[in-house]
C-alpha cells in the first residue's frame, strides 16, 4: 500500500520531497516502513523522504529504518518543518 502510494506520488515531476507521518493504530508502523524500504531498494526514492513514525509497532519500524537514507523526526511538527526546509517552501 505505502509502496504503491510512493510509486504514484513519485510519478509527479513537481514532487520535490515526500513527507510520511504515521501514528499507527490499526495501521502497523512496521508495514509502512516495509513499503518505504521496498521503494528504497528498487531505487525509486530519488527525492528526500522525511518520516515520523509512532504508535503500533513503532519500535519494529524504527529498527527497520535504522541507518537508511530516510530523514526521521520524533514529532510531526519537527518532521513537517524539515520537509518544508528541504523542498524550499515557505515555513
Amino acid at each position: 500500500m505505502v509502496y504503491n502510494a510512493l510509486r504514484v506520488v513519485l510519478k509527479d515531476p513537481d514532487v520535490k520531497g515526500i513527507f510520511i507521518n504515521i501514528f499507527g493504530g490499526i495501521t502497523r508502523a512496521d508495514e509502512v516502513a516495509k513499503g518505504v524500504l521496498r521503494a528504497l531498494e528498487e531505487g525509486l526514492l530519488t527525492k528526500p523522504v522525511v518520516m515520523r513514525v509512532a504508535g503500533t509497532a513503532e519500535e519494529e519500524a524504527k529498527k527497520l529504518l535504522e541507518g537508511k537514507p530516510i530523514y526521521m523526526y520524533p514529532t510531526s511538527i519537527e518532521a513537517a518543518k524539515a520537509i518544508v526546509a528541504m523542498v524550499g517552501g515557505a515555513a
Partner: protein
C-alpha cells in the same frame, strides 16, 4: 472512567481474522479481559487461549459478556453488531471501516431500540487508561490521568493522548466515535457521562468538518456541562465538497463547515486549539 474498566468482560467478533487476532493479542497484553470470540464456522477452536463460538448467542450462553468488539469485514459488520445487540450485549464497539451507510442507518436504530450502546463504526474503540483497551489504539501512549477524550479521528486521538500523557495530565477514558456519516454514539451522548465521572476534570473534543455533531455537542456543553471542555476541529484547510479521509468528513453546501463549528464552540465558551500542543496548553489553562 466511563463505560469500561478492568473488570469489563469482552467478546471479539471476527476473532480468527488477521486484524481480529492481532488486536486480540494487543488487548490481552494490555490487560483486557477477553473471555470469548466468535467466527461462524470456527466454533470449538481457540485463538490465543480464547474459546471461539459460531454465534454470539452461543458465546453469551457460556460466558458473562459486558462488551463486544467487532472486526468483521464491512459487508457483514452491521449484521454482526445487530447479532450482538440481539444477544443482549449492552456495549458494542464497531471497528470496521467501509460499512455501507444504509446498513448503518438500519443497525443504529435497531440497536438503540434493543437498549444497547453502539460505538463506531470506523472507529478506534474505547480505552480506560491503564485499565482496559477495547480497541485498536496503541495502548502505551495513554497514561492514567484526568482528561476525558472524545474524537472522530483515530490518529488525532493518539496524538492528543500522547501529548496529554507527556504533559503529565493523562487521560481517564478515551472514546473514538468514528469517522463515518452514520455512527452509533456522538459527542453529546458521551458528555453527560464525563460530566458525572468524578475522575474526569476536563474533556477534550476532537471534531472535524462534516455533519453537525460538534454544533449539537456545543449546545449541550453550554446548557449542562460543569467541567471545562477544550475543542479541536480537523480538516479546517479542506476544500468544500471534497471528502477528506473519512467518509463523514465532507462539507455539503453550508453544512459541516469549520466556520459553523468554530462559531458554535465560541458561543459555548469552548476554547479551540489550532495544534495538538495547544490542546495541552488550553487544558492546563482551563484547570488552572
Amino acid at each position: 472512567m466511563i463505560l469500561v474498566n478492568k473488570e469489563t468482560r469482552v467478546l471479539v467478533q471476527g476473532i480468527t481474522g488477521r486484524e481480529g487476532q492481532f488486536h486480540t493479542k494487543q488487548m490481552l497484553d494490555y490487560g483486557t479481559k477477553v473471555v470469548a470470540g466468535v467466527t461462524p464456522g470456527k466454533g470449538g477452536t481457540e485463538v490465543l487461549g480464547v474459546p471461539v463460538y459460531d454465534t454470539v448467542k452461543e458465546a453469551v450462553a457460556h460466558h458473562a459478556i459486558d462488551a463486544s468488539i467487532i472486526f468483521v469485514p464491512a459487508p457483514g459488520a452491521a449484521d454482526a453488531a445487530l447479532e450482538a445487540a440481539h444477544a443482549g450485549i449492552p456495549l458494542i464497539v464497531l471497528i470496521t471501516e467501509g460499512i455501507p451507510t444504509l446498513d448503518m442507518v438500519r443497525a443504529v436504530e435497531e440497536i438503540k431500540t434493543l437498549g444497547a450502546r453502539l460505538i463506531g463504526g470506523n472507529c478506534p474503540g474505547i480505552i480506560s487508561a491503564e485499565e482496559t483497551k477495547i480497541g485498536i489504539m496503541p495502548g502505551h501512549v495513554f497514561k492514567r490521568g484526568k482528561v476525558g477524550l472524545i474524537s472522530r479521528s483515530g490518529t488525532l486521538t493518539y496524538e492528543a493522548a500522547a501529548a496529554l500523557s507527556q504533559a503529565g495530565l493523562g487521560t481517564t477514558t478515551t472514546v473514538g466515535i468514528g469517522g463515518d456519516p452514520v455512527i452509533g454514539t456522538t459527542f453529546k451522548d458521551l458528555l453527560p457521562l464525563f460530566n458525572e465521572d468524578p475522575e474526569t476534570e476536563a474533556v477534550v473534543l476532537i471534531g472535524e468538518i462534516g455533519g453537525s455533531d460538534e454544533e449539537e455537542a456545543a449546545a449541550w456543553v453550554k446548557a449542562h456541562m460543569k467541567k471545562p471542555v477544550v475543542g479541536f476541529i480537523g480538516g479546517r484547510s479542506a476544500p468544500k465538497g471534497k471528502r477528506m479521509g473519512h467518509a463523514g468528513a465532507i462539507i455539503m453546501g453550508n453544512v459541516g463547515t469549520p466556520e459553523s463549528k468554530l462559531k458554535a464552540f465560541a458561543e459555548a465558551g469552548i476554547p479551540v486549539a489550532d495544534t495538538i500542543d495547544e490542546i495541552v496548553e488550553l487544558v492546563k489553562k482551563a484547570l488552572g
